[in-house]
Amino acid sequence: MIGLNDGQTRLVILVGYLLLLLFLGVFASRLFRGTKKDYLLASHSIGPVFLLLSMFGTTMTAFAIVGSSAKSYQAGPGVYGMLASASGIIHSLCFYMIGLKLYRYGRKYGYTTQIEFFRDRVESNFIGYLMFPILVGLIIPYLMIGVIGGGIVISTSTIGAIPGWTENGSVPIWAGSLVICLVVLSYVFLGGMRGTTWANAFQTTVFMVLGAYAFYRLTGRLGDHESFWENFAQLNSQITDFHVTRKSIPQSLFLCFMFIPLSVAMFPHLFQHWLTAKSSSTFKLPIIMHPIFIMIVWVPCVLIGSWAAGILGPGVEPNKVMPMMVNKFIGPVTGGFLSAGILAAIMSSLDSQFLCIGSMFTNDVVGNLRKEKLSDRAEVWLARGFVVAIVVATYLICLATGFGASVFTIAIWCFSGFSGLFPIVAAALYWKRLTAGGVLAGLLSAIGSWVYLFYLSYWGAVENFSVPIGPERFLVMPVVIIFACTTVAMVLASLLTKRPSRQTIERFFD
């Protein structure tokens, strides 16, 4: 752009994009019907295309863009099989086996959050109070992934934009993260679930289209040929032999990674998205297309990360690989738009997480503690207030860690916690004998084993933490151990405690 340097051009594009999102939030708020159901569930009005885009946008975080390229830079394209193709299989399985059933119960019995379902299913109020801090505690690291990832993208994209502010003239990470928090907070605050779904759908489209275009441009810039495919083959041929094989990924860990995508079954924000669907048939399109969408996003990211290993050389901070490749090899305008696309991926997860935390607080804590029901208006404001408090808390935690934590490592720990809770939701839907005692034992085992293993990894400082098991010393990821602990504790405690009432069994199984 005329008169602006590269960093400033990218900064202008990013600011423009963020303003567009704010406008979307304001527009969605004009359609707000003033009820809690509309604010939290968009009045169950979302069709298949929007559900696909919003669910996909929600599951694709900074982990998919920044984390995938970072991991691929270190371990090669084998990362795709480890996480992307596995997620395609398991996510759709969870949508079908868990999401669809929960949706039907949610619509039938008037649930807004998954805690309400568990309270009814195991006939225990206490379980709800126990689940709330566990779910919020697991979501906070998930929020951190987005807040840190967003800050890194803005900072790396704006080098030279504001001379004097930082050493390299970029927007500092703390400021970038703050802006991301404020923008997402604004459109969630104003538009609720409708604004969130629209923003998600819009942002998912943006990051997929811009990502594909930028990948095309990047391939052209890095290769020596005229044709895209010749350049593509040339760049792939430069991936080192070490990266081509999966020598750095033990087979037992590859198997363990199949457990990570199970986490989607217990994401509270995804539960809320499921409930926005118009009907159960709305789920068909997301179930079929989700693996393809994952492929569209992950293939370029993983390849760019692998190419970067040869092009940038060793020693680059993995989290910065993707933004560096974009800024170094793509013009400022395309680079600015791609950075906006990456921010879109990040923000499309943050918004749902913000909203679901507010929903859980109003429904599962305040709504449950108060004898007299609050008005819809008061509940909406309460949800908004709690969202602000959580965002502030998350931002302060990021500030305390110096925004230096590895996106990939936080994500794996966060997903491991949610995957550890998978046996509970699966049993609640498919095992009549599950009791409140079983859920209690399962929850305590899951969180106890998670905290213990996290402690053993020096609170995440040991990257790729795994535990050797058996005489062959097979490496096993924490997620498998947590999953096993939850299952064993839940089954034993359920068998040792009183069966659920006939009324409950008839309600959920007949």
Binding site: R107, N236, D241, V244, I287, D376
Partner: protein, 118 residues
Amino acid sequence: MEWIEAITSFLSEANWWVWGAILTGVFVLVGLYSTRLLAWLLVVALVVAHQDYWVWLKGADRSYFELPSGFVYHVGLSIATAVVWWIVTMEAWPDDDVEENFDADFNDAANERSGGAA
């Protein structure tokens, strides 16, 4: 027994296309018996196929456009996954998938849960 040994020996030395033919035969037979069962069998097959130990450390094997063969395999698996889920939604969608008037139920249930003040 000799015939078991013969079959075991044949299978252990068989090429990928022999295995492919055997698996296809199994899927066809299952499909003729029940398409719903076939759909679920395909999902299980996807999970098994994901653990591709046979292409794990194949030196520096390259496939189309110089892409690592393991990578191409998993991209193909993603496409196969979408096809399998399409089959599942066609053949194994819940029988009770009627478009009920959920909203009436939802409002009643939500009011009941919150003390009827909504």
